[in-house]
Symmetry: C2
């Protein structure tokens, strides 16, 4: 009988026989067990903590006796005294196998899995960050064999970690000599290896063993807001999140007005580039302050954005994106330094990864949605809609994926709506209208109470009731249709037709009064005929885009629908279907993915292998340009009614009743429209 023993790791269940005296860390590595180590098994970093289990394990067919691990040793004792070690814990690099043993790897010693908690579903991200810390012991200089400190550091990385092809920027080289001497010829280096084949790059280094952590920014650069998650690159956890308004708004509310600004004002693109870079730098600083870390610890950023934001971020004039053939300056993913991009507030050597663009109208944000929602690996046919000022639409399954962009305009975000506002406390976000009484009830952001619940007034006293946000206007319009206040053409009925005094005359048309706060000094919140028309245009554009892709694939139905976008998270699927925003599908097959682009950015930040995957996937996506497809216009016009063709919505009938009303009696808007045509 050879001197070996059975080692079983939990929770993985991986097992194997090892010679007595084998360190637990070595056994874990040989079995591919996810057990962390930064210091390379020197008892310095304590990342490899494990908990041995003793007793009978009938499930594993093994009994573990005392003495199955080597005795507590001096290294462990020193570590315990210096930093503390929980009872029962051992250092995997110090404890050696002395008998059959069951070893538990606690969650904090596992690095390669990270759960992102989302509104709808949890998601597991593999942790393979591009930048990692490595502890190395470097040979001292020798006059007889003169080599540079950097060359000896490279030799140490090759010897201890099998890492070759290492470079360092000048500022790191400049800090190398004092760091190595201060650290007693040891250092902790932050090494970056992107998915493009450009070797390992030392981004920073610290004397000796450094206890700190590295962070990355997942940045969703939208036309309206810039959202950033400061992410711990060790375990993927979000240390701080923040969003700011995109300061480019002062140059134009929507993308095309910003492109126009660049066209009309020489240097206008550079102005917009400067303000957005500055804002990102400030955001980084704020996040670092909030999380209590140094700017230096932020070593990476991943960006997702639409093509116009993409070009303005990179300092490229977006003028070509404003006219056919909508040529991108570059569509590939980019691996850059943040300093080269003019972004401060981070480590001076920090790297940026920018996801690839799919087409001139379908940007890195859509690529991020594809990374997050993965239609390209779906068995069933999935429609993914990222609802924003432009809607990016993906349709497909593992056979093929199509993409397009549809110019929905900002109505879904509450803009161009009479009482519209951004989603903020005080905004009406949910609406119900009683089909009998035509009376509304609603909820505002900041309170869980409905407006007819007791205590609602008190609960909303501080925020007030300030307007309607995007999800609120969608529900309001859909509820108005279900309550018989709107006819299929989108016309609001008058008080006689609808039987409610809430339908107020408003010029030649009628508005529906959702809330009258004037007695308390608040606003009168109406849904006007103009609001209805704005929503109709937006939803027709969205539907026409989806329909175009369905035509291309040759289908009239999809298996499921995913609503993405920060706003998509708040859309009620039922109301979206009543409006005809999306193709018909069983209601339980319409789900929200939350900010899928942001999730995609986090995935690319935490898992460098995901970058190569999405680059390959994006290359295979089939792009459809809505601007040159005549059928897009046909679908757009045909989709104006609410809903546009009841026959297309078999599942809708199961969840909603749509009264058969018609208000176009020659008065109001009907007359006005005819007059404008004259």
């Amino acid at each position: 009988m050879t001197a070996d023993a059975l080692v079983i790791f939990t929770p993985s269940g991986k097992r194997g026989r090892f010679a007595l005296g084998t360190p637990v860390l070595t056994a874990a590595r040989q079995l591919g067990v996810d057990l962390d180590s930064v210091c390379g098994g020197r008892g310095i970093c304590s990342k490899c903590q494990i908990t041995p289990s003793y007793g009978d394990f009938p499930k594993h067919g093994v009994t573990v006796a005392e003495g199955a691990l080597s005795d507590w040793n001096a290294v462990e004792e020193r570590y315990r005294q210096k930093r503390g070690l929980a009872a029962g814990r051992r250092l995997g690099c110090q404890a050696t196998v002395q008998g059959n043993i069951v070893i538990d790897v606690p969650p904090e010693s596992q690095v390669h899995k990270q759960v992102i908690r989302k509104s709808a579903s949890d998601r597991v991200i593999e942790m393979n960050p591009a930048t990692r810390l490595y502890y190395v012991e470097v040979a001292e200089p020798d006059m007889h064999e003169p080599t540079g400190d950097f060359e000896r550091l490279k030799a140490a990385l090759a010897r201890e970690w099998a890492i070759g092809d290492v470079t360092a920027p000048l500022p790191v080289l400049a800090r190398l000599q004092p760091a190595l001497r201060k650290g007693g010829w040891a250092a902790t280096v932050a090494l970056h290896k992107g998915n493009h084949d450009d070797g390992h790059r030392i981004l920073d280094l610290w004397p000796g063993f450094w206890e700190g952590r590295l962070y990355g920014l997942a940045i969703d650069l939208g036309s309206t807001t810039i959202a950033a998650h400061l992410t711990d690159l060790r375990n993927g956890s979000v240390a701080a999140s923040a969003g700011v308004m995109n300061p480019q708004i002062r140059f134009g509310e929507d993308l095309m007005s910003r492109v126009s600004y660049a066209m009309m004002n020489p240097g206008g693109d550079a102005e917009m580039t400067a303000v957005v870079r500055e804002a990102i730098g400030r955001l980084a600083q704020e996040l670092a302050t909030e999380a209590g870390i140094e700017a230096r610890q932020i070593v990476e950023a991943v960006f997702v954005c639409n093509p116009v934001m993409h070009h303005l971020l990179l300092g490229i004039d977006p003028v070509e994106l404003g006219q056919a053939p909508f040529a991108l300056a570059t569509s590939s993913a980019l691996d850059l330094s943040l300093a080269e991009m003019g972004i401060a507030g981070v480590n001076p050597a920090a790297r940026a990864y920018i996801l690839p663009c799919i087409a001139g109208h379908v940007g890195a944000d859509a690529a991020a949605v594809a990374l997050s929602e993965s239609p390209q690996t779906s068995d069933d046919l999935v429609l993914v809609v990222d609802v924003g000022t432009n809607a990016e639409i993906l349709l497909g399954n593992r056979d093929r994926v199509l993409a397009c962009s549809s110019p929905t305009g900002p109505a879904f975000e509450g803009a161009q709506i009479s009482s519209g506002q951004r989603a903020a406390p005080g905004a009406i976000e949910r609406v119900e209208i009683d089909p009998a009484t035509k009376e509304p009830r609603f909820r505002v952001i900041g309170s869980d109470l409905w407006s007819d619940d007791p205590g609602f007034a008190e609960a909303t006293a501080t925020t007030g009731i300030t307007g309607i946000c995007g999800s609120g206007i969608i529900e309001a319009v859909a509820e108005m249709r279900m309550a018989g206040l709107l006819d299929p053409s989108g016309l609001i009925g008058n008080p006689e037709q609808t039987g409610t005094a809430r339908c107020l005359p408003d010029g030649r048309t009628f508005s529906y009064m959702l809330h009258d706060g004037r007695a308390d000094g608040g606003p009168l919140i109406l849904v006007t005929q103009g609001d209805i028309r704005a929503i109709q245009l937006a939803k027709s554009a969205l539907y026409a885009g989806a329909r175009l892709l369905m035509d291309e694939i040759g289908t009239d139905t999809v298996d499921r629908v995913v609503l993405a976008g920060a706003f998509g998270a708040h859309i009620s699927p039922k109301h979206a279907m009543v409006l005809g925003m999306i193709p018909d599908a069983p209601l339980d097959k319409v789900t929200s993915a939350g900010n899928a682009a942001g999730t995609g950015a986090r995935i690319a930040l935490c898992d460098v292998t995901a970058r190569a995957r999405i680059e390959a996937d994006v290359a295979k996506i089939i792009k459809i340009e809505t601007a040159i497809e005549p059928r897009f216009q046909e679908h757009f016009v045909a989709a104006n009614a609410i809903p546009h063709a009841t026959a297309d919505f078999p599942h809708l009938r199961a969840v909603a009743t749509l009264p058969d009303v018609a208000f176009n009696t020659g008065g109001g808007e009907g007359r006005a429209r005819r007059r404008r045509r004259d």
Copy 2:
């Protein structure tokens, strides 16, 4: 008989048979004939001009008839009208083979050879610059197959030039779209490919076919002066050269005083880095102005320098180089951007290549000398001495090469000499002393006349006679020894001992009066006892370094000696041997290589393959650290006499007579020295 013909190229003599109709350029490429082309054979660039020869060619065994090439075509005619084409010239891409033909490739159509004219020998540099121009025609954007302009440019480079792995910095990406549209979907790109494996990088681009040229800087960054050659990267010719004082001089005359300045003044290294970078940027601008080119056309620079200059250039504190073990921060060759180095006055994307350092005291300048003088490929044993403030010494042959540095101090450059000055008009550079009369004659920089030639006073009226430069002091000391004014210990005799009133008392010692210009308001130029001691220290250090390497290799003689360094070009081999600066060798085997480090820089600039070669060679050089070798001290002390051991200099006796005098009679310096010892 197949329809082909014999094509013979001159001057190469390369020949082959080609199908009728084959373009001459194609034939040249298939035969490996050095015939240039930038536009890829489109008749745009005219770089492939050739001259067909007609008649009988008995040497080649061929008769060339009219009609051996295709008729003058429309492309050639258009080119001739637009740009002119010399009589008899054809475009190699347009003219096709129609019969047996002899084709001459004129020098300007050959790109791969360049002769550097040096004082002693011509040198051929292969032209393989890291940065070249490529003309490409790029596909227009297509909405149905959306890709970025950059991706289509990359596809064109791959298709037309078989070049892959292309990247571009953001400012180039930002200029891409307007350039392609202005150039009618064609552009000329400057592509850089270093010898490290980092792909092709677009440094700049121009709309359509660009007629301009690219330049590089070969920079010899010395402690005292910065010399730069602006070099045409197409043919290696030098468009302009300039030198400026190293502005770091105000922080310390020699290297160690600059290291001390950095040690004593926090931020002192950064100050020195800033001034040298600024000076290099200004130098680049001046050279561009002088050559009449734009700063943008300077796309590369190669740097050679000693380790302290190397670190200060890179922004690395040189403090470790001032103390054992003299550890370099990095010793490898570096491939950087000049912008990253903070150097302006060049293309914003320009690249820098910095040769590897050999050891803490033996820098990139010594590597450049090795590249230029190539002891590593020499059959005979060659000693290469780069004489400057520190002397870098290489000894070896193809079997092995050893290197060391010796702290000669600045005496050889005229510093620490009572009447010493830098080599500039007015400085005494050549000296002869009549052994009978003890009277001197000399020449000054700026005139070819000797001081006893008629017209000398007029010829030197504007410059005056201002002092003695390095080569002048060496000759003066050697001539004093040969004239019996100095004894072997280096002591100057008194007037009675030497028989000349030019030996003037000077405190307790004597000086030799070389020139008295006081009557005309000029200086009194003496060679003092202190000057002799300074030269003795310097030459002992130089000899001891060479001797140490000879010990290591186990030899008492070398086959030849190469004196390098700007100063080395002016040292008289005979006087150097009289002084005992260098080991004995036949006088005709002591040659000057001029500024060999600068030549090495030019080679690395013009031929990227030379970079890989010298990096490999440097890795094999055996480094000897003089500071820790006890034998260095022994050799240094033993080498004090002039010459130190006549027996070691068999060749010297053939060229010089050294009087057997001894002046140490207990007076003067001898007494003073004894007193100091008390």
